[in-house]
Symmetry: C2
Subunit: 220 residues, 2 copies
DNA sequence: TACAAATCGTAACATTCGTTACGGATGTGA
DNA sequence: TCACATCCGTAACGAATGTTACGATTTGTA
């Protein structure tokens, strides 16, 4: 029951407990448990249900046709597994999902979800918001990644955080480097060079833009 | 009318003309036209309607608080503008949208879309599929981009296309380089080096994997 | 205070990648 | 056959980035 709440908080995102409880009573679902090491879903399996991980931790791996596994990521409950894929044209698991600890998964069939969406606007909005937020997140990361060169990434990031000539990174240099997918010393050096060239000022997480045109020219 | 069909083919994706016509009669929508150079949506504008571009071409730009514009991309009809954003928590236009040619845009309010989804399963599935496919596409691109170094990207790509020890790129070296976000000579050199190291064989778009373990070690 | 941990700047060196240029192979139409 | 375009491999060089190591500063904590 407690875990059910977590589930609905994530997907349905109705904050009212009564509202959640109402939905909980109506929606069809199956609960499955998996032991540590057990296979939850195989790569290529058709996804006909929403897999909601409510307890435990899983790892996902890509398995080539020759059996070589490539680790992709770890997912900790509560989180939906491949939520967007149920409705995609290619509705197959892109990865192998294995339990790293004892896990609990709630399964809701696609048709149940569609019925629930038609009945409950809150569920519809919550589900849509979840996927829409994911699109936003991925789009933003991809824009950063597609900037060629560290300085271009910095310029893009700064222009997004520009508030009338000043900006704040809003995070540490180390985490920003990770966000950019570059090494911390490289990022630090690039910022220093931009400051040395008089394009920006920077100190302690805050800075000012001095030469807008030079900053713009750094972009692709 | 013809353009309306294009719209519904993209979003609703029902192939049957009768089905499309049925939906077309029911759903509320407004048609707006814009002259070349006119502003369609401002960065930061609240998105309360689906913007479906049915005619023309637009460009999107990021505008910093200091007025500097950064070109992002061009979109040609028929295509929805920021379809995923209506349902996102941050439902604002992330970019400035300007008409590059004379354009026609169909507007459908969020509430109309929700009603239509509740009524018409085909519309629901079509809309969900559109966004879900976008998540898949973005996820895949991000996985490639987040592989550090060209050889890691190649290794990842090859393992995804592994068919019992053989693989086909399925596209030209030049387009693969663009897909990876690297220069063509760099990609060509990296492949040559991997072949020279005996990790793979490669010729004319096809190849074989010789050392699986070395290939795997190239990944992050 | 004293100590440990986290964060950051910096430097030197190695590696990777972009840039540019050239030539070969292939296909196509005049 | 010739001219032309496209795709590709290769090489040489320079620029950008990764790697590693060190020290300074700050922060939290006993």
């Amino acid at each position: 029951m407690n875990q059910d709440l977590l589930f609905f908080c994530t997907i349905c995102r109705e904050k009212s407990l009564e509202e959640i409880e109402k939905i909980r009573c109506v929606i069809d679902h199956t609960v499955k448990t998996y032991k540590r090491g057990e296979l939850i879903a195989s790569q290529g399996d058709r996804i006909s249900s929403l897999y909601m991980l409510t307890k435990g931790k899983v790892k996902t791996e890509i398995i080539s046709k020759s059996g070589l596994t490539v680790s992709v990521e770890e997912i900790t409950a509560p989180y939906p597994l491949a939520a967007a894929f149920i409705f995609a044209d290619n509705n197959h698991f892109p990865v192998e999902v294995t339990a790293m600890e004892d896990c609990e998964v709630i399964l809701i069939s696609k048709s149940s979800i569609e019925k629930q969406m038609a009945k409950c606007p809150g569920f519809l909005r919550g589900f849509m918001a979840f996927i829409a937020n994911r699109v936003q997140f991925l789009s933003e990361r991809l824009k950063i990644f597609s900037q060629k060169g560290i300085k271009a990434k910095i310029a893009y990031y700064i222009l997004q955080h520009d508030k009338n000539g000043s900006f704040e990174l809003g995070r540490s240099i180390a985490s920003l480097a990770e966000y950019f997918g570059v090494e911390r010393p490289s990022l630090s050096r690039a910022i220093s060079e931009m400051a040395h060239d008089g394009i920006i000022e920077f100190e302690a997480g805050k800075g000012k833009i001095l030469k807008y045109n030079d900053l713009k020219e750094l972009l692709g």
